[in-house]
Every structure is written in C-alpha cells, then in structure tokens.
C-alpha cells in the first residue's frame, strides 16, 4: 500500500454514475487529505450516500477515477478487498448480526480478514467496545441493546479492522433524538484522534464543531464546499441557501 503524506488519501476525478438512465453522480471531483473530517449534506436523492458508497466500492461507477490510499478502484476488481480493509463504514441501520453477541460481531471480521486468533480479536474488540463506552454489553445480543448502543457497536466493529478511513452514512437518522448525542460524541472522539472521516449527516451542529470541510450536494453534483464557518455564515449557491434555511429551521422547530 502506497502512502504519501503529500498525496490525498482519497481522490475522485470526473466520477459519473447512472442508475439505468438516471444520472445519480455528475462530474464528481473530490480530494481528501489524511486526517481530514468531511461532512456531506444535501437534500434526499442528491447522491451523497451513493458518492461515499463508491469509496469502498459498494457502488461501481461508469466513468471517472477513484483512488483510495493509492489504489485505483476503477482499474479492476482485484484490489477491492484490500481497500475495503482500510475503509470502515457505518450505516443508518446498524447491520449487526442478530445471532452473534456484541463481542462476536466485533471479533468476526478481524479473525476472517486479518487472520487474528480468537483471543487477539476479542481483546481488540473489548478495546474498541471500551472506547465507545459499552464494554458491559459485550456478551449481550444486538436485540438487547438500544439503537444508540447498536450504532456504537457498529462503530467499534468497524474500528476493529484498524481502518485508515471511516465512512458514515446518516449514522443517526434511525435514532430517537435523545440518542443522537451518544453516537455523535463517539464520532467526535474519533475525529479528535485524527481519523480520516467522511460523514453524510444532517446534524449541522456536528458539522460546525467537527468538520474541516462541509460539502453540499444536489442533483448528483457537488454544488458548494468550504470550511464550516464560511459554509454556514455565507453560503454562495441559492440551493445551499435554501437547504440550510430549511434544515436549520427544522432543527429549531
């Protein structure tokens, strides 16, 4: 794996994607530096989830180039597995295996993909369950946990693979408002530790306090991007202005 401090860890060049005849991504150009925290927002159907799913090749693209940690995801299929080991992903639905305990959920992938022994994988799992502040839940099953706890397990599970990049696709959207904070606090902790993060979310308070850069997407395109201060105080594009007006008033309603 080639890592050059000067090179962006993620680079999307001229990426275009269609679902049948519907173009969902149009001329996406994005560079992400190691350690950068990016929040992606935009209206429903704007392509933001599709874009981050392309970064670990959960989605393929028809045009353009995607490089992750020096590996060209668009050049052929054989590098995909190694890239996926470097990129953790957390989804809106927690996607834990219901028949496995929390500890087993976290230890499974390191044993299968990283070749860790059971003892090593469980030790690592406990380390990250402690980090997301739920070591006491290790021997329970997902159905015994709250949504906020399950999402924290999903984060711990991703961390168990020692990823270089973490992708979050609306990680708090399925939670009651009272549980959002416990997940965001966990993500803030990750950001403070220097993790490269791309997060699709409408939690604008999180974006303000954590993001180095906020990206606004609409109609499959990156419309505007910038540091949170200027993005929120002085949005340039009318679509950004409209979106921010709606979402900020909803959050205060």
């Amino acid at each position: 794996m080639i890592t050059n401090a000067q090179e962006p860890i993620i680079r999307l060049q001229g990426v275009e994607k269609w679902f049948d005849k519907f173009q969902v991504l149009t001329d996406i150009n994005l560079e992400v530096r190691t350690g950068e925290r990016i929040v992606i927002c935009g209206p429903s159907g704007s392509g933001k989830s599709t874009m981050i799913r392309c970064i670990n090749r959960l989605e393929t693209v028809q045009k353009g180039k995607i490089l992750v940690d020096g590996i060209d995801l668009t050049a052929g299929g054989h590098n995909v597995d190694s890239v996926r080991q470097e990129v953790g992903m957390v989804f809106q639905q927690f996607n834990l295996f219901p028949h496995l305990t929390i500890l087993q959920n976290c230890a499974l992938a390191p044993m299968r993909s990283r070749g860790l022994s059971k003892a090593e994988a469980e030790e690592r799992a406990m380390k990250y369950l402690t980090r997301v502040r739920i070591p006491d839940q290790a021997h329970k099953y997902p159905s015994q946990l709250s949504g906020g706890q399950q999402q924290r397990v999903a984060i711990a599970r991703a961390l168990c693979m020692s990823p270089k990049i973490m992708l979050f696709d609306e990680p708090t959207s399925a939670l009651d408002p009272e549980m959002v904070k416990e997940v965001l606090d966990t993500m803030i902790g990750l950001a403070e530790d220097g993790m490269t993060m791309l997060c699709v979310t409408h939690e604008m308070g999180f974006a303000r306090s954590v993001a180095d850069r906020v990206i606004f997407m609409a109609d499959g395109k990156i419309i505007e991007q910038g540091p949170p201060d200027s993005f929120f105080s002085n949005p340039q594009h009318p679509k950004t202005q409209t979106f921010l007006g709606q979402i900020l008033s909803n959050h205060h309603a």
Binding site: R133, I134, D136, Q137, S143, S146, G147, G148, Q149, A174, L175, D176, E178, M179, H252, A253
Partner: protein, 262 residues
C-alpha cells in the same frame, strides 16, 4: 374498577418512538416491570402489529408479578371528536375494542375538535357503559384540546349531559399552549384520575419533555394541587446504557415525591 391508588406507571413512549418500534412494547413493558413499575401505558401509535402485540401484552400483564397483575392504560392517538366537531364514534369503538384486547380498564384520548354541541354525549355514555372502561380525557398540546378553556367547555357540557368523565392530567402539555399548569391543576383537580408526570424545558424554538425534577414549570406545586391517590405515569425520555437502572431510579424519584408529606 380495582383500586389503583399510588401506582406508578411508565408511558411506553418514554423509551423513544424509534426504540419502541424496534423492540416492541412488550420488551419495554418487561423492562418497566423489572425496574419496579406498577404498570404501563400502551401506545397505539407505537404498535407494529396490534393484533399480535395486544394479546401478548394482555397475557404478560395478567401474569402474577409479585402477586399483583400489572396496571394497563391504552392510549389512543386519535381524538374523540373529529375536526368538524362530531363525535368520532367509530374511533371510540375502535379504541374500546383495542382496550379490551389489551385488558386495559382505562382508555386515554384527547377531545380533538369538540364543538360544544350536546349531541353525541348519549352515544358516548352508552359506549363507555357497555364497555366498562374509564375514558380519561387528556390535555394534549393543541389549541383545540390542550387549553384550560377548551377542556372546561368540554367537561361542563359532558357534566350537563350527565356524563362525568375523569381526566388524564399531563403536567407538561400545558406549556405548549401557554397555559399555567398550576392553575390548570387547581381547576381540574377534582376530576383528575391519572397523571402524566412530565417536565418540560424550552429550547430556542420548541418545548421538550424532561424529567419532572428538571422542569421549568412549578412541578412540585402542581403535583401538590393534584389528587395524591391516582396513578401517575412517567412520560419523559428514559435513556441510558443501563436502561433498567435509569427507569428504576426515575420510578423511585417519582415515588419519593409522592411520599413527601403535603
């Protein structure tokens, strides 16, 4: 109705809508029971499959718990009166049938668009008499059904028609319509049959439910003005990694408040 004085319940919405829909109300009813609740309020809007869940909850509640069955209240989110002011008899009958399936002897509804017309009270009285269920009218968060004036008007009309209905007094809901909870307690105290113990705090542009002890309202004076011998239910967010412990602590807190001499 069996005596239910001093019972402390949990309104299952306290655990969060997404959580309750994910786990089901029986899961949280059992958790409430383990935490020491005397019963639960089952929420129609949080049932995923009423035909399956209501009998399951009924069976759970009837099982002996420390020698005593769990108390049940059925909460119907549809109002008693339609927007045009007419009695929503079909809604009432639906709610009564659901209460029967649950085995609940108390049904909670708000008045909705009651238009101060006398018609409908006979049908309402007959439906409740046939059902053997107490209908507890709740002050909700709307102007139609959550102000002192709207509820006074309704109860006066019902009383005049010979139908004396008890009330679910939601301590926090009054704030949403700018009413004083303490004045409301003094006004309705005589007919309160069930209390929603809910504190509220004002965020920049909305009210949110919080534990009583964190309320911006004079909750202690309000409770003192309400009858002490009616069941009270926690209805504010219960969250925490050890949810049973959190629930137990909040139940103990509410019981401790009740235990204080007036």
């Amino acid at each position: 109705m069996a005596p239910s004085a001093s019972k402390t319940l949990i309104s299952l919405t306290s655990f969060g809508a997404a959580e309750v829909l994910r786990h089901g109300q029986l899961w949280f009813a059992r958790l409430s029971q383990a935490a020491g609740a005397d019963g639960v309020e089952v929420r129609e809007e949080l049932l995923r499959d009423a035909a399956r869940e209501l009998p399951e909850l009924a069976a759970w509640a009837s099982e002996a718990a420390h020698g005593q069955a769990m108390d049940l209240v059925y909460s119907c989110p549809q109002p008693l009166y339609a927007a045009d002011g007419a009695l929503a008899l079909a809604t009432l009958q639906h709610a009564i049938a659901a209460s029967h399936r649950l085995g609940a002897r108390r049904l909670k509804m708000s008045i909705g668009g009651f238009a101060a017309r006398p018609e409908g009270f006979d049908a309402l009285a007959q439906a409740l008499k046939d059902a053997g269920i107490a209908l507890l009218i709740e002050n909700d968060q709307t102007a139609d059904a959550g102000t002192v004036q709207a509820l006074e008007r309704f109860f006066a009309a019902a009383d005049a028609a010979g139908l004396q209905l008890p009330m679910t007094f939601d301590m926090g809901n009054w704030a949403y319509q700018g009413e004083c909870a303490l004045q409301a307690a003094q006004c309705f105290s005589g007919r309160v049959g069930y209390v929603h113990a809910k504190g509220v705090q004002r965020l920049p542009a909305k009210w949110v439910a919080v534990p009583l002890t964190e309320s911006a309202l004079p909750w202690r004076a309000t409770l003192r003005a309400l009858p002490a011998d009616v069941p009270r239910a926690i209805e504010y967010p219960l969250i925490g990694d050890d949810l049973e412990a959190v629930t137990r602590r909040e139940l103990q807190s509410l019981r401790a408040i009740r235990a204080l001499p007036a």
